[in-house]
């Protein structure tokens, strides 16, 4: 029979290893969530593949409303609370939720835009709409982008590359 002392000494490295594993896993998992890039996805026929961050901002501010003469821009944005929306508000609009709402009310009733961005409630729906609506542009969590979707480079970078600004 093993003495309690021997048992404790034998169990100690295992306990320490388990504690270390927990600590080392929790950090990267959280970091992974924080740092997942948000992809800019457009309808496959949209004639853009690379936009600067300033151009993305111009599109989402409603200052650029047409991709081509016959293709109006259709803005899709996730509903409040979604991480993609938070990234868009922080990086693109640099506005709070309240400022964002006020901005679009004023924009529409200054006669500068006909409609505000269309709200979508999940990345699945965003994927679906951006594929179906000509001129559509959406922000989708890079992990949820469907294979074959047209992802636009922002400042020359794709999601996951160093220097990608939307995260």
């Amino acid at each position: 029979m093993r003495s309690p002392r021997k048992f404790a000494l034998a169990a100690l490295p295992s306990a320490l290893a388990f504690a270390f594993l927990c600590l080392s896993l929790s950090g990267p998992l959280a970091a992974q969530n924080r740092d997942v890039d948000v992809a800019v996805v457009v309808h496959p026929d949209t004639p853009v593949s690379n936009l600067s961050l300033a151009e993305v901002r111009k599109v989402f501010l409603g200052d650029r409303q047409y991709w081509t003469t016959n293709t109006p821009v259709v803005l899709l944005i996730r509903a409040p609370v979604a991480r993609e929306r938070n990234v868009v508000l922080k990086v693109i609009y640099q506005m709070s939720e309240s400022q964002f709402k006020q901005y679009w009310i004023a924009k529409i009733f200054r006669a500068e835009s006909a409609t505000a961005p269309k709200v979508v409630y999940s990345n699945d729906v965003a994927n679906e709409l951006v594929t179906a609506i000509p001129g559509a542009i959406a922000f989708i969590d890079a992990r949820d982008v469907r294979p074959g979707a047209k992802v636009v480079r922002v400042d020359g970078h794709l999601p996951g590359e160093p220097g990608y600004p939307l995260r």
């Binding site: 003495s3 309690p4 002392r5 404790a8 000494l9 100690l12 306990a15 320490l16 504690a19 600590l23 929790s26 950090g27 998992l29 959280a30 970091a31 969530n33 924080r34 600067s52 300033a54 151009e55 901002r57 111009k58 200052d63 650029r64 409303q65 047409y66 081509t68 003469t69 109006p72 259709v74 609370v81 979604a82 991480r83 640099q94 709070s96 939720e97 309240s98 400022q99 709402k101 006020q102 009310i105 004023a106 529409i108 009733f109 200054r110 006669a111 006909a114 409609t115 979508v120 409630y121 999940s122 990345n123 699945d124 729906v125 679906e128 709409l129 179906a132 609506i133 000509p134 001129g135």
Partner: protein
Amino acid sequence: MHSRLLPILVFVLLSSALFAQSAPPASAEPEPSVKSLLDRIQQLEKRISELEDHERKSSSAQAGSSGSPAVAESKPAKAEAMSILPSSEHMATSPAVREAEVHYPSLQIRGFGDVDFSATNEKGTTSGFSLGQFVLHLASPLSSKVRYFGEISFTAQPTTYDLSVERSIIRYDYNDYFKMSFGKYHTPLGYWNTAFHHGAWLQTTISRPEMVRFGGTLIPIHFVGLQAEGNIPSGNLGLGYSVGLGNGRGSVLSKAGDNGDANSNRAWVANVFARPAQFYGLQLGVTVYRDELTPTTGAERREWIEDAYVVYTKERPEFLSEFASVHHTDILTSQVFNSQAFYVQLAYRLPWQENKWKPYYRFEYIHRPESEPDWSVTDLVGSTLGVRYDITNYAAFKGEYRSTRHGVDEPRVNGAFFQTAFTF
């Protein structure tokens, strides 16, 4: 036995404590990490419920359309509503896509209102409450390229309400560089007159600057005619333009010629502005305006207005400044009268209490030559100090202290003003 186990237990406890204490600075990480994980769990739970809702909707839509061919169902919708979607087959199989379909016309109505209280030391005035303008804004896309905008105001008068069509515009968009519209506008002259329309909730302050006051005559507030506008290809400079041709001022100088011009000379206006990409929030612009005035009383005059502005609209800070120079030339005597006006407004959205507080200050100035006849504008030097508190995303309280002097050698008037402004 217990005496042997005790040192081991103490060692384990001490080693745990030491492990916790000797952890590198990165050991501060677990707290935000746990928070992030909880956030992620919340997001995933929300997403699951969204997906379940989506699934339920799909099932109910399919159940509702069972028995009739899906493609046949989508065809009447296509004929009735100009769709932004390319494929009716896809529409029929996807409720989400079908919901995104835009029907024309698609009328949106938004109302604005405000309730005010004022008390000043001006002789002959009384303090009290007043109902501000009740305003309805209308916007309706008529097709993917044609849109209508309207604005109607109801203004309280002693015995009735004045109903006024403030704006009524139909616009055709060719592309970003050329948009043509017809109707009644707020004259695209300077910044404030086109940035803030009726509806006090839209602007930071309770009142507009005197130089662009509704019912004022320093600059023409309204304009009936046509306008072309758009972006100018200029890269990061973000240039844009608008040019207009219209009736200009009516025989009552504060009114536009809604039912026809007061003379056969059209007014024209040209405006160029820049929104540099490197300075998001910054806008600079210049405007020139030309008209011939035929007032009910007084001499006919040629009018030439130049306006320049610099604004920064990010709210931390918000900075608005605009200068206008108004030249009138008497057609008979060639006598020239020059008036100048400007305002500078500074506001800052405070970061506390959910960004609800926004204090502001505005200084404004108007000078007009005393020799100019039949011109209701008066000299003005005024300061406004106030604060806006956004109760919700759609309603705000504002309180202001104003100190102004109208005319030369007139006493200064001080007053306190309060307003609750909202949109619905």
